[in-house]
């Protein structure tokens, strides 16, 4: 909502200066967005200096000028003026400027094969004189230090731009703003002068509001103004319209706009001679159409509120008028409309047709239904004053009467809500100034809500009115109470924070990427999940919710590789979506690792990152988060985006159905499809939701501390075994030989090829044996050794290597 202070003072007697007014507006909830001169077409013309003028390569009479336009910027302009020379100060018009002389809009253009960014202007082009021989030459003493500044001073009055919240339609008019300011002590609201307008004759175009279920109009007021001379608006009115940031059109249109912004009372003027017999306010039928004042043709749906005559639709009530009945300079007789349209109907229609107008914006928020006559009178007065003519009696048709809102307000609610007390006298004064009718019934106040405040419906709204006008600075600051109702974080929230930092500590950079992604990349990772399209995506490559955490990670990994980074470790923790209903989401960590380990190291041999790098990271992170390493079981079944032979699933224990993590190399097809250029790419993911919460706290989980001081023995074994036999099973077989004596089993060598039969491999393990009761003698150890060998051979088909 834009207006000038000058305009405000038409409604408010105030001694406040501009800054006080600005502060007051903000303090009562009418947020000031800006307070500056309205923009002018001349603002773009700036003082500039030619730093280098050389001859155009393809035209002897043209020059190619480097022009300093301030802010350390120099641009190139092609110029035909003979006086263009080095060091000349002149006026520069950038692309987009409108040249006053011919109203041409400049664009970047090629002149004889050289691109020119804007132009240097002559006095004639700026309509300063008829001097057109060459560009302007500005005096050095006056302009030398003004390079980059506007050449034309903007003399228009400063405009206040308010951001009005949707609950305050009344402040979409200057008078409403003045009323609020007066309630807050910033002056006195001027009383409207009584009109002494003389009416002649009746409004003889019949108006009918049809009684229909979907009727969006409840009141239609109008009057006829006959014998007008439409013309350009006088300067004062033009200035007002311009200060709103709008273009003056004609006196009639400007007046209706002026009244809308002045009183928040939208009006519409029809050329009465173009109306076919009568006005019918009704609901539209699907397929009806009309040409609107924005020069677009609209095809209507059922049940849109239209103003029509016998020939068809004239306009959409409260939204936009039509060209068929529009006023022109030649218009002689006007029908002026002042109506009430239901917010719900306006909103629905404008959404369906995608129209936004000042009138629509106001009716949608709720116009004062008791301002019908006031609007007609104010506009008629102005039209008569500027365009002449005779005004008919006002004709107001209604299908519904306005019902007052009455609130019984207990002043105690104010203190209960705000925490501070206000005298009843002051409270009543504020409400009365805001337009409430206040009467007292013991402790309760009976309040009649003003008709321009549709937002006020209950007691809490009254509290807001009073505290807003009184000032939020009166609210005390109570020290926060530190009592806690429950622990800050639950198990999964703790897990989230812990794993996040645990993975980061393994050298991964955390990133945050969109929850949506490109369906084409998502496709590669979604497995059996349903694709979840967004109906109105921000762009076609962010068109689905991500089914997996990897599409975006891989996408951005590629971007970083393309930037020239080679060794990259990235991870994200966030949602992966499994369905489109609330809650169909899992919290997942996804990590990617590309490139080499020990690249360009002077002492270590470099190698590609591999599956066992990420396996270590994932297992270590899980262990740090409290999962027992000994319980963990690894499987080789993984989602299809993993390399089928170089990836694994991690289970919290052997009975678990869902893998809580996967790790491994990414499938080579994906690398190829996405054209990822790296030596090696491995990934892992952890699904936090599948980690089982331990019922016990760590204080209960710590078992008794036991250790053995008896001598330990280490024995090495090498087995020849089927290539596909899993080392994890071999280890389990050995452990199960004697859980008490066998303390640990480590695989220290795996070997295929030379001396090993086809389809077999050699696995070497080191077994630590220790008793908690005695020192084992050679005999005991031999027995265990034999048992280990026989168990392994019988259970796995392996052969001990001799």
């Amino acid at each position: 909502m834009k207006f000038t202070v000058d305009w405000l003072k038409n409604h408010l007697d105030t001694k406040f200066n501009n800054n006080q007014i600005i502060d007051k507006l903000t303090n009562i909830g009418l947020e000031v967005e800006s307070f500056e001169s309205s923009t002018s077409e001349l603002d773009t013309f700036i003082v500039a200096k030619i730093t280098n003028a050389k001859t155009h390569p393809n035209a002897d009479r043209l020059k190619l000028c480097d022009v300093d336009i301030g802010g350390d910027k120099t641009i190139e302009v092609v110029c035909g003026a003979p006086n263009a020379k080095n060091g000349l100060l002149t006026v520069y018009a950038p692309p987009g400027s409108i040249i006053p002389k011919n109203q041409m809009k400049l664009s970047v253009s090629k002149i004889r094969g050289v691109t020119s960014y804007g132009m240097l202007c002559s006095e004639s082009e700026l309509q300063l004189s008829n001097e057109s021989d060459g560009i302007m030459e500005l005096k050095h003493n006056k302009y030398a230090n003004k390079i980059g500044e506007k050449y034309f001073k903007n003399t228009s009055e400063k405009v206040i731009d308010l951001s009005i919240t949707p609950n305050r339609p009344d402040c979409l008019g200057v008078r409403g703003i003045a009323r609020d300011l007066s309630a807050a002590g910033a002056g006195k609201l001027k009383i409207n002068k009584k009109s002494n307008l003389k009416y002649r004759g009746n409004q003889n175009i019949n108006v009918t509001i049809k009684k229909e279920k979907a009727q969006g109009c409840t009141i239609f007021g109008s009057c006829l103004i006959k014998g007008v001379t439409n013309k350009e608006s006088p300067k004062w009115l033009k200035d007002k319209i311009k200060s709103l940031g709008q273009k003056p059109i004609s006196a009639i249109v400007d007046i209706t706009n002026y009244v809308m912004f002045d009183l928040n009372r939208p009006l519409h003027a029809y050329d009465a001679d173009k109306i076919d017999n009568e006005i019918i306010v009704r609901s539209s039928s699907k397929g009806e159409s009309f040409e609107a004042l924005d020069n677009k043709k609209y095809i209507l749906e059922n049940d849109m509120c239209v103003i029509s005559d016998r020939s068809g639709v004239l306009g959409l009530g409260g939204i936009i008028g039509g060209t068929r009945s529009g006023t022109e300079y030649s218009t002689k007789n006007i029908l002026l409309e002042s109506a009430y349209f239901l917010p719900r109907s306006i909103r629905k229609t404008s959404k369906q047709l995608n129209i936004d107008t000042d009138a629509k914006f106001r009716f949608e928020r709720g116009i004062d239904p008791l301002s019908i006559e006031e609007g007609l009178i104010k506009a008629s007065e102005l039209i008569k004053q500027i365009c002449g003519g005779e005004i008919s009696n006002l004709d107001v048709k209604k299908i519904e009467n306005y019902k007052k809102t009455i609130i019984n307000f207990d002043p105690f609610l104010f203190e209960k809500t705000t925490g501070f007390n206000i005298e009843n006298k002051e409270l009543i004064k504020i409400l009365e100034k805001l337009g409430f009718n206040v009467s007292k019934n013991k402790k309760i106040l009976k309040l009649v809500v003003p008709s321009w405040r549709p937002d006020i419906t209950q007691s809490i709204d009254i509290v807001e009115e009073i505290v807003r006008i009184k000032g939020y600075e009166h609210i005390n600051t109570s020290e926060p109470v530190k009592t806690r109702l429950k622990p800050t974080l639950n198990y999964y929230q703790k897990l989230f924070h812990f794993l996040q930092r645990s993975v980061a500590s393994k050298g991964y950079l955390e990133t945050v990427t969109w929850s949506f992604t490109d369906s084409k990349i998502n496709q590669l990772f979604k497995e059996n999940d349903q694709e979840i399209p967004i109906v109105n995506p921000i762009s076609s490559d962010l068109n689905v919710l991500r089914n997996s955490i990897f599409p975006n990670l891989i996408f951005y990994l590629k971007k970083n590789l393309d930037r020239g980074f080679k060794d990259i470790s990235l991870f994200e923790i966030g949602p992966a979506f499994k369905g489109k209903n609330p809650g169909d989401q899992l919290t997942v960590i996804g990590a990617v690792k590309a490139g080499k380990v020990s690249r360009l190291s002077w002492n270590d041999k470099e190698r590609n990152v591999d599956t066992f790098d990420v396996k270590k990271d994932v297992i270590q992170s899980l262990c740090e988060a409290g999962i027992y390493k000994d319980d963990i079981v690894i499987d080789d079944k993984t989602p299809s985006y993993y390399h089928p032979g170089k990836s694994g699933g991690v289970y919290q224990n052997k009975n678990e159905k869902n893998a809580l993590a996967y790790f491994g190399e990414i499938h080579p097809n994906i690398i190829k499809k996405l054209d990822i250029k790296t030596e090696s790419l491995v990934i892992f993911e952890i699904c936090l939701d599948y980690i089982k919460e331990s019922k016990q706290k760590i204080k209960d989980l710590k078992s008794e501390y036991k250790f053995s001081d008896f001598q330990k023995s280490d024995r090495d074994f090498a087995f020849i075994i089927n290539k596909n036999f899993k080392s994890q099973e071999l280890v389990n077989i050995i452990k199960s030989v004697d859980n008490k004596l066998i303390k640990s089993v480590r695989v220290f060598d795996v070997f295929e090829g030379e001396n090993i039969p086809e389809g077999k491999k050699s696995i070497a393990v080191n077994v630590t044996i220790q008793s908690e009761e005695k020192t084992l003698n050679e005999n005991d150890l031999d027995n265990i050794n034999k048992l280990i060998i026989s168990s392994v051979e019988s259970k796995s088909g392996a052969k001990i290597r001799s």
């Binding site: 303090n27 609950n167 917010p343 809500t417 705000t418 209950q458 809490i460 509290v463 807001e464 505290v467 939020y472 600075e473 005390n476 600051t477 109570s478 020290e479 926060p480 109470v481 530190k482 806690r484 622990p487 800050t488 974080l489 924070h497 996040q500 930092r501 645990s502 980061a504 393994k506 050298g507 950079l509 955390e510 990133t511 945050v512 990427t513 929850s515 949506f516 967004i534 109906v535 109105n536 921000i538 962010l542 919710l545 971007k559 970083n560 980074f565 990259i568 470790s569 949602p575 979506f577 489109k580 209903n581 609330p582 809650g583 169909d584 989401q585 380990v597 020990s598 690249r599 190291s601």
Partner: protein, 355 residues
């Protein structure tokens, strides 16, 4: 006797010039071995008179001590020399680079969420969460924003179906609704998380982060709201004084509503929070609207309280001098390394919010 003395002097001389450890050991056995010179002298003690023995034994012992002492000093001397020589040879260039350090980082958004949670934890708030996909009711209707409400226009909503029933939450406020529906008052929670609006330019991203706050009890008023936010802002920006302004505003789900500005100034091109004459809007808040309480089955005549919503990304930008919101979500390795935080730098009350 003088024989022995002479032997002693000879050996002392020998030892003085000897530098080989083996030879020193040979001398040692020559003197003290089974048939060593000194050992033999001791054996002779048995065949002489008691008188003589006393004197000789004493002399012998003195000579023995002197020689042994000399030998052990010599051995130590030679060994030290050898070790020093060895160490000298083993010297390496320790300025050569260490093995690669892989430095991981925590994203600024995560760090700021942890900072926020730490601060609110201190004044008794617990953390709640809600899903990113919401239904229309929780996101709008329950929050007193019916379908025909113009406030809906301010939220450019992403929808998942044509009936506009399912959507990506436009704010964290639906967590209020979920929390109150599943529990009984009092409530004292914060809810950080991802939020979405179909808006994209330098200062808007289609996804961003908010933290919701809610405190409902029997007598919670606007003074408590002011106190809570005042405490939070001061702690978060780690300044002693903060200039803060509550200004009336409008949100359908709070009444009265406020927006909060903090004072700032630009010093040497950097934004300084807490001083200056400029105001920066950082959050919206208010007393939870009775209609919302009714919708979530809380009796508004018994319970009341406040709610607030803060833009997390924005707070992070202000605190850590980050200019471009879009960069938060573009995964530029350089940006993440530059603005990321060390994983061990966990914000907490006892060891400070940030280092």
């Amino acid at each position: 006797m003088s024989d022995i003395k002479k032997i002693k002097d000879d050996y002392i001389d020998k030892l003085n010039t000897e530098n080989n450890i083996e030879k020193v050991n040979n001398i040692k056995s020559e003197l003290f071995g089974k048939n060593g010179i000194i050992s033999n002298e001791f054996k002779k003690l048995g065949s002489i008179t008691v008188e003589e023995r006393k004197k000789l034994a004493s002399d012998l012992n003195n000579i023995k001590d002197e020689l042994q002492n000399k030998i052990s000093i010599k051995i130590q001397e030679i060994e030290t020399k050898e070790i020093n020589l060895k160490l000298e040879k083993e010297k390496i260039d320790v300025t050569l680079p260490e093995r690669n350090i892989e430095i991981g980082k925590i994203h600024p958004v995560s760090q700021v969420i942890d900072e926020i949670s730490s601060i609110f934890s201190e004044i008794g708030f617990s953390v709640e969460e809600g899903p990113d996909v919401e239904n229309e009711y929780n996101n709008f209707t329950a929050l007193n924003t019916p379908d025909n409400h113009p406030a809906r226009d301010m939220h450019d909503t992403f929808y998942l179906d044509n009936n506009k029933e399912l959507l990506l939450r436009t704010h964290t406020s639906p967590v209020q609704v979920r929390t109150m529906l599943k529990g009984k008052p009092p409530f004292k929670i914060i809810a950080p998380g991802r939020t979405y609006r179909s808006d994209s330019d330098q200062t808007h991203a289609p996804m961003f982060h908010q933290v919701e706050g809610l405190h409902i009890d029997k007598n919670i008023n606007m003074g408590h709201l002011k106190g809570c936010l005042n405490y939070f802002i001061k702690e978060f920006f780690e300044v002693d004084k903060i200039k803060m302004r509550f200004r009336p505003s409008h949100f359908p789900f709070t009444e009265p509503s406020a927006e909060v500005d903090i004072g700032y100034e630009i010093k040497n091109g950097k934004i300084v929070i807490g001083e200056g004459n400029k105001w920066l809007e950082i959050l919206g808040c208010g007393m939870v609207h009775p209609n919302v309480l009714k919708n979530v089955k809380v009796n508004p005549s018994k319970y009341q309280g406040y709610a607030f919503g803060i833009g997390i990304d924005r707070l992070g930008m202000l605190k850590y001098g980050i200019n471009d919101l879009r960069a938060f979500f573009e995964t530029d390795y350089r940006w993440l390394s530059h603005f990321g935080f060390d994983p061990l730098d966990v914000p907490s009350n006892y060891r400070g919010l940030s280092r």
